[in-house]
């Protein structure tokens, strides 16, 4: 040991034999002790144990260490913990490095113990050399803004917003459609209890609407998001409703509006009823919509499309609420956390042409049937065919798009139960014969198997098989004028032709199209297209971005029970995050030396995380330390060496390499 300026300690872990059975830890310890500026070298059975950490802390204090190398397992395991212990003992935590002698030596070279030991020595030497060149880093903290944005006001977003509001946080709930409620508001009844959907949802909609801590923005979409430490600045576009909040909800405008009238050249279908009914250009999506503020659809309005003709709504409005001069407005919303609750939309059944969706009038997808069965729907809750008569037989096809590698490989999880729900409601209301075409009946929620039993007892037909097609070509008198479902009844082993009056396709749940939103929030999607959670098993509500949480069908298909549970968990996680008040920033990211920076923008061109930009006025590159991943791509292209990643400067890396390969290698 030669006297140097640094006091470095080396700690070699046995990992209870995982390391020491292969690597000769005594040899490594003695080797380490000989390195320049190493003042302590020791080995221990389990460095991660309480005693191991106590040993680390005592040595730091006793010897006044200002550098530590722990030779142990991968830094992914305990680097943070060792740095925390070092900090408690009074050392700057960023002067501690890990030499991975378990995975890289003991595991990789299990059968070559001598070479494993030599490699362990080299790794320790390299990290000692690096530590010699490290400088202490300040850990910055940033205060977390106390507001929270919830994006999407379906049952997930409403529930999360209510909990967060009740916990005292300032919530901005942003919904892109004119009303809150999401898909659940379309249902008449919910499985398995057959509760009236609006009776459970409506009170929550009202609560959130009136909540003093919840600021509601409907008909609004997040256009962009900028991240800064502890804060997200969302640019929200408030689409023009052309109706002010003076609206008293009298419906006179809708009655007077000529659009979609029998002779009107401009026609438009109701999005809310999924194309099953026409709507006017000025409308309320459904009677319990919230807010009870009408919306004018400029794309289908004579005033906007035909040169200011019409304007009848403005003439009949008693509240003077119509304002044709409104323009889209951009609002900046600052928050500390975001909950993504953007939900799902139905898979487009016309992708499977064999089932006749869009070709035969009486083939419907699940959400359409929800509307046909709803008392606020286009038929006031009466199940009728397009010709206005009730069906005498109905076929319900499960797994349309789901569990099919040609379309969506995943199980949409709710369709089995939703199909049973239709079977029950259709039998109850029309007495029609009902056939369910299923492959596997998945009834795995609380009360679901019981529900299956109940529906089966109502004399519903169950055919196990995936139909090949729905056809109107009759091959027998019973098929005339009907839609025939062709299927192998796999239990009986025969091909059946089942003539019905109406076909319901239980379509897969697709994630909402939120690519733009995810890109601006820097969130990933899983391979199935839904928002990627932090960890599928143990952290399904957080995301890889600190401060952003996910809930409901935005994350994966699920029923209302699971949606509520996850929304509660997301709200709790967000609340804890906000409540912590400040966040520590990882200092191991890029920094710019302004004296060297030439504002050439090469760094910003290569950064995949949009973490560095050149300030046009100061003419210097600025790193957003929350977005930077410390990947180092920018440091390679910077012509002057102005941008470096902390603790990975050229001198620091070179020192490690020199220690690994001390002799020049012949080319």
């Amino acid at each position: 040991m030669t006297g140097g300026t640094r006091k470095i300690g080396v700690f070699i872990c046995h990992c209870g034999g995982n390391i020491s059975d292969v690597v000769d830890v005594n040899a490594v310890r003695e080797f380490a002790a000989q390195q320049d500026e190493v003042v302590a070298s020791t080995d221990f059975r389990f460095m991660c144990s309480n005693q191991g950490q106590a040993r680390l802390q005592e040595t730091i204090k006793e010897k006044g260490l200002d550098g530590v190398v722990v030779a142990c397992c991968t830094p992914k395991m305990y680097e943070d913990m060792f740095r925390g212990s070092a900090k408690e003992a009074g050392m700057n935590p960023y002067l501690l490095e890990i030499a991975n002698v378990r995975e890289q030596c003991a595991y990789a070279h299990r059968h070559e113990p001598e070479q494993a030991t030599e490699k362990a020595k080299a790794l320790v030497a390299a990290q000692v050399a690096k530590v010699r060149n490290l400088r202490p880093l300040d850990v910055k903290t940033a205060p977390i803004h106390d507001g929270v944005a919830v994006i999407g006001a379906g049952i997930a977003g409403i529930h999360a917003a209510l909990l967060l509001g009740n916990a005292g946080h300032k919530v901005t709930l942003i919904e892109k459609s004119p009303t809150i409620g999401g898909n659940m508001a379309r249902f008449d009844k919910t499985f398995p209890t057959l509760d009236c959907a609006m009776c459970t949802l409506s009170p929550k909609m009202n609560d959130v609407f009136n909540h003093p801590n919840v600021d509601l923005m409907t008909y609004a979409e997040v256009k962009d998001a900028v991240r800064a430490p502890g804060r997200f600045t969302l640019t929200v576009v408030q689409k023009p409703r052309y109706v002010t909040d003076a609206c008293i909800g009298c419906n006179r405008c809708t009655e007077a509006c000529p659009v979609s009238g029998p002779k009107s050249p401009i026609k438009v279908e109701s999005e809310w009823n999924l194309g099953l009914s026409p709507r006017k250009a000025i409308y309320l999506p459904f009677s319990q919509a919230l807010p009870q503020q009408w919306t004018l659809d400029a794309d289908h309005c004579y005033y906007f499309q035909r040169n200011h003709t019409c304007g009848i709504c403005a003439k009949v409005c008693p509240a003077d609420a119509i304002d044709f001069t409104q323009r889209p407005e951009e609002v900046q919303v600052e928050v500390g956390a975001v909950v993504v609750a953007t939900g799902y939309r139905p898979f487009d059944a016309s992708q499977i042409p064999q089932y006749g969706f869009g070709k035969y009038a009486d083939v419907y997808h699940g959400l359409q049937v929800e509307r046909l069965l709803s008392s606020t729907g286009p038929t006031n809750g009466k199940l009728l065919k397009k010709d206005g008569t009730p069906p005498q037989s109905v076929g319900i096809i499960h797994c349309v798009g789901s569990r099919d590698e040609k379309y969506r490989s995943y199980c949409s999880r709710v369709c089995c139960m939703a199909s049973l729900k239709y079977a029950h409601l259709i039998r109850e209301r029309t007495g029609a014969r009902v056939y369910n075409f299923y492959m596997d009946m998945r009834a795995n929620g609380k009360g679901y198997e019981e529900f299956y039993q109940r529906v089966a007892s109502e004399q519903v037909g169950f055919v196990r098989g995936k139909p090949t097609r729905v056809t109107d070509q009759a091959t027998a008198p019973e098929e005339e004028g009907k839609l025939t479902i062709v299927v192998e009844d796999t239990l009986a082993g025969v091909v059946l032709r089942v003539p019905v009056d109406m076909v319901v396709l239980s379509t897969a749940m697709d994630p909402e199209d939120v690519d733009g939103l995810l890109a601006s929030l820097k969130l990933d999607k899983s391979p199935d297209g839904f928002v990627k959670e932090y960890h599928l098993k143990i952290n399904p509500t957080e995301t890889a971005v600190k401060g952003i949480f996910v809930a409901g069908c935005a994350q994966s298909p699920k029923d209302i029970t699971d949606t509520i549970a996850q929304a509660g968990a997301a709200a709790m996680s967000a609340s804890m995050f906000l409540g912590s008040g400040s966040m520590t920033l990882n200092p191991l990211v890029a920094e710019v030396n302004p004296d060297l920076c030439r504002a050439c923008t090469r760094c910003s061109e290569v950064c995949e995380f949009d973490a560095v930009r050149v300030d046009p006025e100061a003419l210097v590159a600025i790193v957003d330390e929350t977005s930077c991943e410390g990947c180092g791509k920018c440091t390679v292209v910077c012509p002057t060496g102005a941008i470096t990643v902390r603790q990975f400067t050229k001198t620091q890396i070179a020192a490690s390499i020199d220690a690994l390969a001390p002799k020049a290698v012949a080319p």
Partner: protein, 382 residues
């Protein structure tokens, strides 16, 4: 009946796995293949059940049902689990055939293939007789393309006219081409589909060697079955060349304005997609384009068409086996053609033309001409 103990047939399961049939284990028994299979329209047979028995290795594949499959791929095109059903069936056929348990007629076909290099039993020295009186030259380097004739166009008197028609078209368009004459042997498709991989390989290697020797780089095939074998099976044996179906070449010649066609009055024409051209190779538009370029032709689409098209019943070795009239898919196809009011039913495959013409003669309510696209075009050459 008492239940029999399950005794998995390990040998068969191993053979199936070796023959590339392991996608079989993904099957979740939905039955979509059964109800999609054209056989379900004419008799009771469950593809799903065959797969079930193979999955558990409990036999059941030794019966006649295994030899029904026309390898049309209608099932595989839809299977939600991506099971390659025709490959499973081919593998099972190899296993059964190796034990000598295939239908007798197919034993004869294998014999012809081995001794005369064609499934029909024609004499090898008469392979090029179809071209008598035409100036068809042996392929030599520098020619635009090699015309791969195939056994049916070479030996079947009805289909010879297709090859002769194509010669006239290529001459008219100024395409220089040649054939391998009597040195061509069967492309091997029949051997492959009836489960004789070794026989396939020996035929394919023989053709591949001739291609190599004569410097063949670009092949045009008359039969979609030759096209598929040349395009997807030969490369597995190391051969390399470009290959297309003749309808693709004709579509290109029309694009280049190299074919002038005369009007055929105002005729409703429908087109039947051959499985090996459509589902196997995605060639749906070129033959339609060629037909529509004949002035006066009004193309009507049958239901089903393109990827859903109904098989003629000739693939997978079925062309060599007897099918009772009430079980012929081609009879159903004739009815479908009549439903759209077609006067001409066109197709682009020797097997399809043979089967459809047969059915048209026996079941069409009013005259329905069956023509190969090449014949139709040649007839309308200006």
């Amino acid at each position: 009946m008492t239940a029999a103990a399950v005794r998995p047939f390990d040998e068969m399961m191993d053979e199936l796995a070796k023959a590339g049939a392991s996608s079989l284990y993904l099957c979740y028994q939905c039955g979509l293949c059964t109800s999609t299979c054209p056989w379900s329209e004419v008799r009771d047979v469950s593809v799903r059940k065959m797969l079930r028995q193979a999955q558990l290795g409990i036999g059941g594949l030794e019966g006649d049902d295994l030899w029904l499959c026309t390898t049309c791929r209608a099932c595989a095109a839809r299977c939600p689990r991506g099971v390659d059903i025709p490959t499973v069936i081919r593998a099972a056929r190899s296993f059964v055939a190796a034990a000598g348990a295939e239908p007798d007629r197919l034993k004869t076909v294998r014999g012809h293939l081995a001794s005369a290099q064609n499934p029909w039993g024609g004499k090898p020295e008469e392979r090029s007789r179809w071209a008598e009186g035409l100036n068809v030259r042996p392929f030599e380097k520098g020619m635009d393309v090699l015309l791969f004739v195939g056994c049916t166009a070479a030996y079947d008197p009805r289909i010879r006219t297709v090859a002769r028609a194509l010669v006239r078209i290529l001459d008219a368009a100024g395409v220089t081409f040649g054939t391998l004459g009597n040195d061509e042997v069967c492309d091997g498709d029949p051997a492959l589909r009836i489960g004789d991989g070794d026989l396939f390989r020996s035929l394919a290697e023989r053709n591949a060697a001739t291609f190599e020797e004569r410097g063949v780089e670009h092949i045009v095939a008359i039969s979609p079955h030759s096209f598929e074998a040349l395009k997807h099976e030969y490369p597995k044996l190391g051969a390399s060349f470009e290959v297309e179906h003749y309808t693709q070449l004709l579509a290109r010649l029309l694009d280049q304005d190299r074919l002038k066609l005369r009007s055929d009055g105002n005729v409703p024409v429908t087109y039947h997609d051959p499985c090996y051209l459509g589902r196997y190779n995605g060639v749906y538009e070129e033959p339609r384009k060629v037909l529509e370029s004949i002035p006066g032709v009004r193309l009507e689409e049958m239901e089903p068409n393109r990827a859903d098209s109904l098989c003629c019943g000739g693939g997978g070795g079925r062309i060599f086996l007897e099918t009772p009239p009430e079980e012929r898919f081609s009879n159903l196809r004739i009815a479908q053609a009549e439903r759209v009011g077609a006067q001409v039913l066109a197709s682009a495959c020797p097997y399809c033309v043979l089967n459809l013409e047969d059915s048209s003669k026996t079941t069409a309510k009013s005259p329905l001409a069956v023509r190969d696209v090449a014949e139709y075009v040649a007839e309308r050459l200006a």
